[in-house]
């Protein structure tokens, strides 16, 4: 019993640690002053300004499009890649794995600049396609890294049995392997989405004109100071996520009740 209480307190402390800055962010979105060093009274003026600022809303739109598209594609590609690599042997396997690691190894700026030069050599005009390609490339390794351990943990005999019983490899993957590695896939997707949504350097150097994501917008304010309108936007995004989370929770409660019936 004590153990359970202790572990709950520990988990709670970690969550406080994770959310403390978010709470600060939210509070300062209502600060009448632009400065974080001075509380000048409560206001919602930043929220009103937010909806009048076309540029920020456009960045939000692009951030979401790029993040959702690239995490979706890298999750799919990464899962199949992991399955393929899992089944490889010897030198090919080592080669594939180490190549996969390279975007993880390199500092962002090196990846960013090398992409920029690559696109220049290929005479590709920078735009939304180039930024999505770049995002997919640096997200997929994380999906592979998340799925591989689950593949190792999985009971490979089930898949072999399925193949022996006449299933096509694709059927075996769909019905046998993927359900077993699902937590890894979900983890990978979450990681990919997280990385994409928060990336600045790679996005900046591979984005074309008219394409700007939130990170670029925010980092560009580095010289002037972050406009609290950004805090307001972050607060709204956060609240939206909380609401979504609540919906998911309610639905899984309903499912439990259904099962009990």
């Amino acid at each position: 019993m004590v153990k359970k209480q202790l572990s709950r307190i520990y988990a709670a402390l970690i969550f406080v640690f994770l959310y403390a800055p978010i709470v600060v962010l939210i509070i300062f979105s209502f600060n009448n002053s632009k400065s974080r060093g001075n509380w000048d009274g409560f206001t919602i003026k930043w929220y009103i300004q937010l909806f009048k600022n076309k540029e920020i809303l456009r960045s939000l739109y692009y951030t979401l499009i790029i993040a959702i598209t690239s995490s979706l594609i890298s999750t799919i590609m990464g899962t199949f890649a992991a399955i393929g690599i899992y089944d490889m042997k010897g030198f090919t396997k080592k080669f594939a794995l180490n190549l996969n690691y390279l975007p993880v190894l390199n500092p962002d700026i090196v990846t960013a600049v090398s992409f920029m030069v690559l696109f220049k050599m290929a005479k590709l005009e920078l735009g939304i396609i180039t930024i999505i390609l770049a995002h997919i490339t640096f997200c997929t390794p994380y999906v592979v890294l998340s799925v591989l351990p689950k593949l190792k943990q999985m009971n490979k005999h089930l898949a072999e049995a399925a193949l022996d019983l006449g299933a096509t490899p694709f059927y075996a993957i769909r019905k046998v392997i993927i359900p077993q590695i699902m937590p890894g896939i979900v983890t990978g997707a979450l990681l990919a989405f997280t990385l994409s949504i928060d990336d600045f350097v790679i996005s900046f150097f591979t984005a074309g004109k008219g394409v700007s994501n939130l990170s670029i917008m925010i980092y560009s304010m580095a010289r002037r100071g972050i406009n609290p309108v950004i805090n307001a936007l972050s607060t709204l995004m956060f609240l939206t996520l909380m609401v979504l989370l609540l919906i998911i929770y309610k639905r899984s409660e309903k499912e439990e009740e259904k099962v009990i019936e």
């Binding site: 400065s35 974080r36 060093g37 001075n38 920029m116 700007s212 560009s220 580095a222 010289r223 002037r224």
Partner: protein, 349 residues
């Protein structure tokens, strides 16, 4: 269960994507692509321009002059109007990255204060039109400091140990040290640079932190008493904390300009000129100066500002105070030296 939701999300995504595609396709107004610092324009100004000229404004932002340089140099993305700083304009002219402006099309160019035209980085303003300007100086909290500060050398006073914030920019901080030693901030003399380096190494134990824009909050919240800041930031800081004083040091300081230029590969040069002209209108320049808080180079615009801002000696000092200032020059071949020196300053060896 999962499948139903997945399908719904896919449909939603497709819907959003198609709507956005359609809406951008049906927009056949001419487009102007602008590349500027973050939060460095009154958003309303862009809306006004769109309405009046019936065009679409595409507005992107960058964080530093050097980032801007890499994007423009490497190509792949053509902008019509960009906003580099003085030394970067000098470099872009030299490397043939920007085109000459047809001043006949910029009818409002006479609105700009003569004293801010024809500067060294762009003689005769063939390529650029000033947008904002300012100085670099010392800001200090008069309640936390026992005497008024008047020179860069004051930042080396042991009495202020732990209360000094310096800028985390190589060039600006080296400039401070060079001016303290009465050298030019654009010096190419390696010995002078090495002396500056030694000064900064001596100063390290006294420095609270080397910061970028966070310096504003640190000084406002009184975590440190003294800082090196740009005049525009000083204006904002003094609003938040009335105990702050901004001073241009005796040894001389940096005068900086951000200006509008047109890159060589601009696709809509005509519209670029219209935009620059538009930005020089006193009402528009005043809107920007009021929103950003930095100093406008257009006297008629200054008259339109709020009393608090137009009488602010930090933002609009008497010209006599600007006599002992220098504008940065393009340091391209010295950058490697700056980098080595900066690394040596922070090395523990």
């Amino acid at each position: 269960m999962n499948n139903k939701w997945l399908k719904r999300i896919c449909v939603l995504l497709l819907g959003v994507l198609s709507i956005s595609l359609i809406s951008s396709c049906s927009d056949d107004r001419p487009t102007i692509n602008i590349y500027n610092w973050g939060d460095y324009i009154d958003p309303e100004v862009l809306d006004m321009f769109e309405e009046e000229y019936n065009v679409r404004v595409v507005y992107d932002t960058f964080a530093t002059n050097e980032d801007l340089y890499v994007k423009i140099k490497q190509g792949g993305s053509s902008y019509d109007v960009i906003f580099p700083s003085d030394y970067m304009i000098e470099r872009m002219i030299r490397e043939d990255l920007i085109q000459k402006i047809d001043t006949k099309k910029i009818t409002n160019i006479n609105n700009v204060d003569e004293r801010f035209m024809n500067l060294d980085y762009d003689p005769d303003n063939q390529y650029s039109v000033p947008y904002m300007w300012g100085t670099v100086g010392i800001i200090y909290n008069k309640n936390l400091v026992n005497r008024p500060l008047t020179k860069w050398a004051d930042l080396w006073d042991e009495e202020f140990s732990g209360e000094i914030i310096m800028l985390n920019s190589q060039r600006d901080t080296l400039a401070v040290a060079l001016k303290k030693l009465h050298y030019s901030m654009n010096t190419r003399n390696i010995n002078e640079l090495e002396e500056a380096k030694n000064e900064l190494i001596k100063q390290r134990p006294l420095v609270y932190a080397y910061q970028g824009d966070e310096i504003k909050d640190s000084i406002i919240s009184e975590e440190a008493a003294i800082g090196v800041v740009w005049s525009g930031d000083a204006v904002a800081m003094m609003r938040e904390n009335p105990n702050l004083v901004y001073v241009l040091p005796e040894e001389g300081t940096n005068l900086w300009f951000d200006a509008m230029v047109i890159p060589k590969d601009a696709q809509n040069v005509e519209l670029a000129h219209e935009f620059i002209n538009f930005m020089l209108r006193p009402e528009v320049a005043a809107m920007n100066a009021e929103y950003i808080g930095y100093s406008s180079p257009i006297p008629k615009a200054i008259e339109l500002l709020s009393d608090e801002l137009k009488n602010n000696k930090v933002a609009y000092p008497d010209f006599s105070e600007l006599e002992n200032t220098e504008i940065f020059k393009d340091p391209t071949d010295l950058l490697k030296e700056y980098d080595r020196i900066w690394t040596e300053i922070f090395s523990t060896m």
